[in-house]
């Protein structure tokens, strides 16, 4: 595991930087992380994500991992689900979490916002049909509530139902008694989260400086003996 020094050439990074908007340093750091997770292979698989112990406690880990393997997030048109991803795909998915740069124009901000919301939408829409049905939404709420062990699924169902009704009322207004609300389309989703300033919330800080040596210590040792990470806290 000492092959950190084999970083790809600058040229590759230029293309990636162009596509995703990351800086060179950020890309190289993420590449290191990618290699760490994939044990120096070129492709990352689902089981590699299972190594991250912190993720185990996360109630929506499945959706998160799925999001990395979701072809819709790669802006590609492949039909079959992917089982392994390259670094480029990894980076593209990560780029959804970049904060918008300071001097962005209004249209660009709207575009960024739409992209982030699209990512979220894809995460909810697990059957990839373009709408979030009640079942899918229920699943989301159940996952969130599974964080607190003591609850039954019906509570989650009730909440999801109420949420769907809210969407219905916001997007369709008053509905006739025999109308049927199929599910949340992307436009409805946009309208729903209008007041939600996602462009400033759905961001994480990507390091410019190489702090992975710090992480490297903990996670590397963790690769050998994962419980270490738990004690770290």
């Amino acid at each position: 595991m000492g092959s950190l020094q084999s970083s790809p050439s600058h040229q590759d990074y230029v293309d990636l930087a162009e596509k995703t908007g990351f800086s060179f340093e950020q890309i190289s750091i993420l590449h290191k992380r990618f290699k760490q997770l994939s044990h120096n292979e070129d492709k990352l698989r689902r089981e590699h994500f299972g190594q991250i112990t912190d993720l185990h406690a996360n109630p929506i880990r499945e959706q998160i991992v799925e999001a990395f393997f979701d072809r819709r997030n790669f802006y590609q048109e492949i039909e079959e689900p992917v089982s392994e991803i390259s670094f480029e795909n990894f980076l593209v998915v990560m780029s959804n979490f970049r904060p918008p740069s300071d001097n962005m124009s209004q249209e660009k901000l709207v575009k960024v916002r739409k992209e982030k919301l699209r990512f979220l939408f894809n995460m909810h829409d697990t059957d990839k049909d373009g709408t979030i049905t009640l079942e899918e939404y229920r699943h989301v709420v159940e996952e969130l509530l599974s964080y607190y062990e003591a609850l039954e699924t019906e509570t989650a169902r009730g909440i999801a139902d109420a949420a769907m009704l809210e969407v219905a009322s916001i997007t369709r207004g008053h509905m006739e008694p025999d109308e049927f609300y199929e599910g949340i389309t992307f436009e409805h989703f946009l309208k729903l989260l209008e007041g939600f300033d996602i462009e400033s919330r759905m961001n994480i800080r990507f390091m410019n400086m190489d702090t992975t040596t710090l992480c490297f210590l903990t996670t590397y040792r963790g690769v050998k003996s994962w419980p270490f990470q738990l004690y770290f806290w």
Partner: protein, 759 residues
């Protein structure tokens, strides 16, 4: 008509104010009245007392028994204090009657103005007006305001911007203090000023007093302008957290102003002292907060004294911190912040309301009194007006504030995701108001010669910031089109997504491999959930998820609005579900605007709703004093309303979410809907076998507050029993009455318990 009315009301207000002024002046002019709070002027009223109480004292002839006696000295002190407070509040009342003025001039300015008037009147009568005594200020007037601010501090924006706030508070205040102090020393060297006797240390002391942004003034002004949350929390958080710096600097320079020199060792000790003061203050607050939370766990049998625990523990935190010269303000804030989530989970709804209203009330009174006293003290003096000193102080204050904010923002923006724009910086700089804390600290100075000059300068700066900046900030905010506070639409979807995002970002951070902000927050939440909540929250409420409580809160609001909008016309007869459904078809489901209904109907509805109090967890969304009366229904819930709402909701659901809109399906849909509450309740079985059993058989539940434990709910439910049974006269569907009666089939003996508990 309106003109006449307004003229009349204005004249009335003016007349009342004048009357009060005269009254107060007269009272103050009477011999014993000039106490205020300064010193106890206990006139040796021996002889009059003796006369009334010991008629056999002397060898004089026997007096007739006094039927009516005048003995003012007996009550002089509390009398005057009450009178002052009454005057202050009547003034406050008066301002709101005069509509135009209160829009232009912030309340704080008006209050200071009144104080000036009153002080002038008293002085004109050659009496000594009461001054803003430092002890009174720091021990009695300031804590309620800070506790109110700390208890209702919005945690999320505060912690998200904690770094920025700390930098502004610590580094910004230090910069201000040293810049002003140093430059003033340079100014004092100017021959023309004739203040050459002021040495560097005194200047630095002066700088440290005047550099701190004042929370009282900031609160008073910012509350009325409703700017966006980020700016509000930045300025306000800074004003709260800079207390530690101010305390340390003040004591440091005051100590050494006597010595005359400061060594490097002393400076180092000062730095250490800063950490001790701030961290120590916070720790004291945390300890008392945990104690308070722990105590509230056991108060289920004596609900009436619950609010007192909150107030007393917080006040003790403040006083304990003051004992050790730690930062009392930070201690108070920490205590309120720590205590709040656990206490709110434990106490009854009435206690929660009591706490909220008492805090708002006390802080309102305190603030009013502070500003009036500020005005009065200004008139009192003593003043030593030195043109150059004062003018330069003013200029330097503004300059250092602007430079400090701009410079610090430049550095901070490198670390922030959401950068602070120029507009934000301007508002932050402009919002750096000075207030009564500076004045009181100045008052504490012992060196009389410089003290007067310093006090004059301090008062000038305070007046300038409060009057000029306070009055102009509102038009400036409009002019610059600064983002205002978002009208928060309580949306379950937004809440779901907030939580979803939290977990998502934590997960992404984990994948990236760096322990960022979200990671630690997640760890803290988990720690909180697994250990702390179990200790500090009574019963099974400790495992209630936030989403559930939010959802219930929302449903409540929903239901209230539906009652008002949809069925208002029919409510007093407690309309059948059918008519309600008819009404629903007219009104759109989630109409936010509440249409106007006749006043009498509204009264009736409110009476019914209020009569059925239930426990809710309504988090106060804003901490503005003025928002209190915007939620008249916050604690009114009724079984009837729930029933209607549930009927309506499930009907909608059956229509929207299942394919055929078949009426036959509704019972099963209803069952599905109702089970959640029922199911959730069952895990509360430990509470009481009787209650649990009653609910087990029940397809319906009393409240949508599925998270509420039995214990605090008993009282409210029992109280409701009588009301609900009276009012549940004509329910349509036959399931309803069964549910109701079974719902309220609580056994009798509980009622006695409840009575005892309340007594």
């Amino acid at each position: 008509m309106a003109g006449l009315g307004s003229v009349c009301s204005r004249r009335l207000a003016g007349f009342v104010s004048l009357l009060l002024l005269v009254f107060v002046a007269v009272i103050s002019a009477s011999p014993d009245a000039a106490t205020g709070a300064n010193e106890t002027l206990r006139r040796p009223s021996g002889h009059s007392l003796d006369d009334s109480h010991h008629p056999r004292n002397s060898s004089e002839h026997r007096k007739a028994f006094p039927v009516l006696a005048f003995n003012y000295e007996h009550v002089s002190k509390p009398f005057v204090i009450s009178l002052w407070i009454l005057l202050a509040l009547l003034m406050k009342l008066g301002f709101h009657i005069i509509p135009r003025v209160s829009h232009i001039v912030p309340e704080s300015c008006l209050l200071i103005f009144v104080g000036l008037l009153v002080g002038g009147v008293i002085k004109a009568m050659d009496q000594t007006p009461p001054v803003l005594d430092t002890k009174l200020f720091f021990l009695y007037l300031l804590p309620p305001i800070i506790l109110d601010a700390g208890y209702f501090l919005p945690i999320r924006p505060f912690t998200e911007n904690m770094g920025t706030i700390l930098v502004f508070a610590v580094v910004g205040t230090l910069w201000n203090a040293f810049f002003i102090g140093g430059m003033m020393f340079a100014v004092c060297q100017i021959e023309a000023a004739q203040v050459g006797h002021v040495d560097l240390l005194s200047c630095l002391l002066f700088g440290s007093i005047i550099s701190a942004v004042d929370p009282v003034a900031v609160l008073a002004v910012f509350e009325e302008i409703h700017i966006n949350e980020l700016l509000h929390i930045l300025v306000f958080g800074e004003s709260l957290l800079n207390d530690a710096v101010t305390v340390v600097l003040y004591h440091l320079f005051e100590e050494f102003a006597h010595e005359g020199t400061v060594t490097v060792g002393d400076a180092l000790l000062g730095v250490v002292s800063f950490f001790v003061v701030s961290v120590g203050g916070v720790m004291v607050g945390v300890i008392y907060g945990v104690l308070g939370a722990f105590t509230s766990r056991f108060t289920s049998h004596s609900r009436v004294i619950e609010p007192l625990f909150v107030f007393l523990y917080s006040y003790m935190a403040y006083l304990s911190a003051e004992v050790f010269h730690l930062s009392g303000i930070m201690s108070l804030i920490a205590c309120g912040v720590i205590m709040r989530p656990y206490v709110e989970a434990n106490i009854s709804h009435k206690s929660y309301t009591t706490i909220k209203y008492f805090l708002k009330m006390w802080s309102s009174v305190s603030e009013t009194l502070i500003f009036i006293f500020l005005g009065v003290s200004t008139v009192e003096g003593p003043h030593n007006w030195n043109w150059i000193f004062v003018i330069f102080t003013l200029i330097l204050c503004l300059l250092s504030r602007v430079l400090g904010v701009v410079g610090l923002t430049f550095i901070i923006n490198k670390f922030r995701i959401i950068k602070l724009t120029k507009k934000d910086q301007f508002i932050v700089a402009y919002g750096g108001l000075r207030g009564a804390i500076a004045f009181s600290l100045g008052f504490l100075l012992t060196d009389t010669e410089k003290k007067d000059m310093f006090l004059t300068a301090i008062i000038t700066v305070i007046f300038f910031t409060v009057f000029v900046q306070g009055m102009t900030i509102r038009p400036l905010v409009e002019l610059l089109a600064v983002k205002k506070k978002k009208e928060s639409k309580a949306s379950i979807n937004e809440e779901i997504h907030t939580q979803f995002l939290d977990h998502l970002l934590t997960g992404i951070e984990d994948i990236c491999g760096h322990y960022g902000h979200h990671h630690w927050k997640d760890k803290l939440n988990r720690f909180n959930r697994t250990y702390v909540k179990k200790w500090l929250i009574a019963g099974d409420r400790s495992s209630e998820p936030q989403l559930i409580s939010f959802y219930n809160k929302m449903e409540m609001k929903e239901a209230m609005m539906l009652v008002e909008s949809g069925s208002a016309a029919k409510l007093p007869s407690l309309a059948s579900a059918a008519s309600l459904q008819n009404a629903q078809q007219r009104a759109p489901p989630k109409q936010r605007a509440i249409p106007s209904i006749s006043k009498t109907r509204e009264q009736e509805i409110r009476k019914i709703l209020r009569a059925n109090l239930q426990k809710t967890r309504q988090r106060l969304r804003s901490y503005s004093r003025h928002d209190l009366f915007s939620d008249p229904f916050e604690d009114s819930m009724s079984e009837i309303r729930f029933r209607k709402q549930r009927v309506q909701m499930e009907r909608r659901m059956s229509h929207y979410l299942t394919v055929p809109a078949n009426r036959q399906e509704t019972p099963s849909a209803r069952k599905v809907w109702f089970e959640p509450e029922h199911k959730v309740y069952t895990y509360d079985e430990s509470e009481s076998p009787r209650d649990g059993a009653a609910l087990e058989t029940l397809p319906d539940t009393v409240s949508l507050l599925s998270e509420s434990p039995q214990r605090p709910d008993q009282s409210s439910r029992l109280r409701k029993r009588g009301d609900a049974e009276q009012s549940a006269n004509a329910p349509d569907s036959q399931e309803e009455p069964q549910k109701l009666s079974r719902c309220f089939s609580d056994p009798g003996p509980k009622e006695e318990e409840e009575e005892e508990g309340e007594g």
